[in-house]
Structure formats: structure tokens, C-alpha cells
Amino acid sequence: MTDDLKHLYETTYAAVVRFLYRKVWDPDRAEDLAQEVFVRAMKHNPDKPRAWVFAVAANLARDEARAAVRRKRHLTLLKSDPTPLTSPQRSAEDLVEHNEKLERMREALHALTPRDQEVLLLWDAGLSYPEIAEQTGLAVGAVGTTLARARRRLVDAFDRQEAERHAAHS
């Protein structure tokens, strides 16, 4: 079991960080939470560690979001932009373009229903249909339907924003 967990940690840590980043939009916080997830897994030694890890990651992200909502009630403004990703190789214009695309993509993702988002992100994190079904409570047969809808809606939402942006610039 320990070896299983270690192997899971080595192969899945980056995917868990990515999964969490797409929920909390802060790379450092995503890493902190991912470490917390694996420490808990080592403590509990779950039977199905892979599914368990993503289930706990989703719960931690949800708690984080609730805490953020509570903070917002007290503070009038705390805009939660995703931390812009900077790269020394990029020119300033490229960087602006990249960050705008990031923001559009994020809005496109938020245009999905919470369930569609969850299924899509779990799939992208590498979970199988049965694992996604177990975590979301969907029937295995419904995962394909949800995924089909989520993919279509994500691309549609993104394209719509692109079109709006072009219309605004022209």
C-alpha cells in the first residue's frame, strides 16, 4: 500500500496540482493543498488511493471556495484573478495576449455547470469513466454524455468570447 501511494504520488502529484489550480486559481495555494491531500492519504491509507486523492482534492477546493465567499462578505473587493503566468521568453505584448486568453478560457470554464466542470476536470486529470462516476455520483454510462456536453459547451463558450473580442477590436 505504501509503495502504491508512493507511486501514485510520483505519477499524479502534478495532475492534482493542476486540478486544484483550476479551482483555486493560485499556483502556490494549489501546491499547498496538493501536499495536504497526499499527507492525508498517507495518514488514512485509502483502499482506492487515486480516486480518494481527487475526491479529497475536490473537497479541499470546495472548502477553499466557501472560505473565499466568507471573506468576500467582509471585504468589499478582492478580485480573484488567476495569477498571471509570466515567462522571461515572452515579449510584453505576447504576455498580455496570453493572459487575456487565460482569462477568456477561465470564463469559458466557469460558463459550464458545476457538474460538467467537475467531470471535464477529472477526465483531464486522468481519471477513468468508472472513477469519475464514483466521485460524482453519476452512472458510468452518463459520464460519456456529460463529457460530450461539457466539451461542446467549453469550446462554444470560448469561441463566443473570441468572436466578441474580435468584434470589439474591429
Binding site: 508512493k6 510520483e10 483550476r22 501546491e31 501536499q35 495518514k43 471535464l120 466539451r151 469550446v155
Partner: protein, 332 residues
């Protein structure tokens, strides 16, 4: 009739979600064969498959833009040590709550007894027979493995550890530098001035202890000399107690990082186990134990002069934690 059914089935186009599942490799082999044979004879479904494949690729590419910078993965052993620390902390809390509950119960019984007797002794008398040591236990228990060292005076180290903690003990002033230092140089820092006793070895078949160890991994019972040769001549044990068994797991050849468990018998007949090995292995073994445990970090130099600090030492057994703490200071 069956022929018509087959024709109808062949003419039915593949639903979109099935094509997604097919491309996601979420279907059984027989379902795949069925879909592939249909695709071979149905141009509209082939077109649908191609457009879904494109949609799928585009989604993956769009999601890839929402990736954080490549994370720096901490060492697995570091997280493992955190998990172990939490398990041990939880055990201490459970013990403290247990004592608090027992005291509350005793107080309640005393109060009830007092009210029944009526003109009986005052409540203070009813409380008096209660043991006072457990009340102080959460504070006197080490908050971390390292703190064990500074709370015990050298005098106490040299004395024979008692199976039952002293009823009252005045807290001693802490020495900050000692409390922060890990257990180094094979505990020589605390061993100074203590005369070395000759080792007494008592060989008893390993089966007697097999139930205490987790089944995962291959355990070998070895002779004292063999174990010493195998783990770079250092098998930590509590000085002055007869060794009952020495058990070793892993790394028989070469890497010099076995996990060793030395079982020793107290004069009362109780057993204590001293475990030393890589943090992950020791943590795993401790996670199977339910009794009191004390742990310490270990730093030692290997033959090449490289400092190894990924090892851990622990003592567990069915004796009070104060006794285990005292034993820890007598590890050689």
C-alpha cells in the same frame, strides 16, 4: 425477423456520447469492435467521429492553457514524516482526552457517592485518591520527538526508567538549543558520561513476535552479529536490556538501509521494540501500532562521508510514554 433487426441496428448511427467514450477508450473490447465495424460501413458516423476527435483535442488544448507553472514536488519522505507526526499527535490527544474523561467520571462518581452518603466526607476527600500524574500528562508528554531530549535531565537519563510515570514532576526550564537539535551522532550527545554495559543477548524464536509486525514486506530474523554486519554495525537498542529478537526488513545487499526492529524485555516481563530505518518504512510500521510511541530523527554519516538524514528511530511498547522517553535516551 432477426435479419430485419440486424439491418435496423446497422443503420442506426452511433450516438455522440458513445463516440466520446470510444475515443476516450472507455468501452469494452467487444463494444469497440462493434463500433469499428459500423464505422467501416457508415460515412456519416466516420465524419461524426472525426469531428468529435477534433473537439476532444481542442478541449484538451484549451484546458492545457489553464495549467500552473510546473510544480516542485516535495520529497515523498517529507510528506510521510508529516503524516506520521499527525498520527502520533492524534494518539497523544486521544490519550489526554481519555484521562480527562476518566477523571471527570471519577469526580462524578465521587459527587454521587457524596450525595448518597449525605453527611459523608467533603468532596475533596472523595477526589483525593485519584491519580494526579495523568492530569499533567499532556504537558509532560513530548510535543515532538526532539523535545523529548531537553525535558529530561541527564540525571534522569542515568537512572532506571520506571514503568509508571512519577506522580508529580516539576517542569524543568527548557534549553532552546538542545530542543531544536536533532538526535545526532547516534545519541552521543545524551550518552555522555553513561557507562556502557555489556550486551546481553537472549535468542528466542522470531515467531513469538511475528504478530506485532505488519505483514507487508519480508521480515527476517537474524543473529545479533549478522544484523550488525548488515546495517553498518549499528543496530540501535536500549542499553542494559536483554535483546529477545532482532528482525530486519529489506536491503539485504548493498544499499545499507535496512529497517531493523530490536525487541527487548523489561524486568517486568513487558516488551519494547526499538525501530530504526528509512522514515517511510518506520512510519508505515508505526501506523500499524496502537500503543505509546516515541520517535527521534537520526542523522549519521555513511561510509562515503555523505550525511544521511532520511532515517528515523522509534520505540514503542505497552509501557507509559514517560518510560519510553527515558528508554529513548538510553538507545545505543
Amino acid at each position: 425477423m432477426p435479419l430485419i433487426d440486424k439491418k435496423l441496428r446497422d443503420m442506426r448511427h452511433i450516438p455522440e456520447e458513445e463516440l466520446h467514450a470510444y475515443l476516450d477508450q472507455a468501452l469494452s473490447r467487444s463494444q469497440c469492435v462493434e463500433i469499428e465495424s459500423h464505422l467501416a460501413s457508415c460515412p456519416p458516423c466516420r465524419q461524426a467521429r472525426d469531428s468529435i476527435a477534433a473537439l476532444r483535442d481542442r478541449t484538451t488544448a484549451l484546458l492545457a492553457t489553464l495549467a500552473p507553472p510546473r510544480p516542485i514536488k516535495p520529497a515523498y519522505a517529507d510528506l510521510r514524516a508529516q503524516a506520521t507526526a499527525r498520527i502520533l499527535k492524534k494518539r497523544r490527544i486521544v490519550r489526554a482526552v481519555g484521562w480527562a474523561a476518566s477523571i471527570s467520571l471519577a469526580l462524578g462518581l465521587g459527587w454521587i457517592a457524596n450525595s448518597w452518603i449525605g453527611a459523608g466526607p467533603p468532596p475533596a476527600t472523595a477526589v483525593a485518591p485519584l491519580p494526579t500524574a495523568p492530569v499533567a500528562m499532556p504537558e509532560s508528554s513530548p510535543a515532538s520527538p526532539v523535545e523529548v531530549l531537553d525535558r529530561e535531565s541527564q540525571t534522569r537519563v542515568a537512572s532506571e526508567p520506571r514503568p509508571i510515570p512519577a506522580p508529580t514532576r516539576e517542569p524543568e526550564p527548557r534549553t532552546p538549543d538542545a530542543s531544536l537539535a536533532p538526535v545526532t551522532d547516534r545519541f552521543q550527545s545524551v550518552a555522555a558520561g553513561i557507562p556502557t554495559e555489556p550486551l546481553r543477548v537472549e535468542i528466542i524464536p522470531v515467531q513469538q513476535l511475528a504478530g506485532d509486525l505488519p505483514t507487508a514486506g519480508l521480515w527476517r530474523s537474524v543473529s545479533w552479529d549478522g544484523a550488525q554486519a548488515e546495517s553498518n554495525a549499528w543496530i540501535p537498542r536500549v542499553e542494559g536490556l536483554p535483546v529477545v529478537t532482532v528482525q530486519v526488513q529489506g536491503d539485504q545487499q548493498g544499499s545499507g538501509k535496512p529497517l531493523t526492529v530490536v525487541a527487548q524485555r523489561l524486568s517486568s516481563g513487558q516488551m519494547i521494540q526499538t525501530v530504526e530505518g528509512p522514515i517511510a518504512k518506520v512510519s508505515d510500521l508505526l501506523s500499524h501500532q496502537s500503543g505509546p510511541t516515541v520517535t527521534a530523527s537520526v542523522e549519521m554519516n555513511d561510509n562515503s562521508g555523505t550525511r544521511q538524514d532520511d532515517r528515523m528511530l522509534a520505540i514503542y511498547g505497552s509501557v507509559p510514554i514517560d518510560s519510553l522517553t527515558a528508554f529513548l535516551l538510553r538507545v545505543r
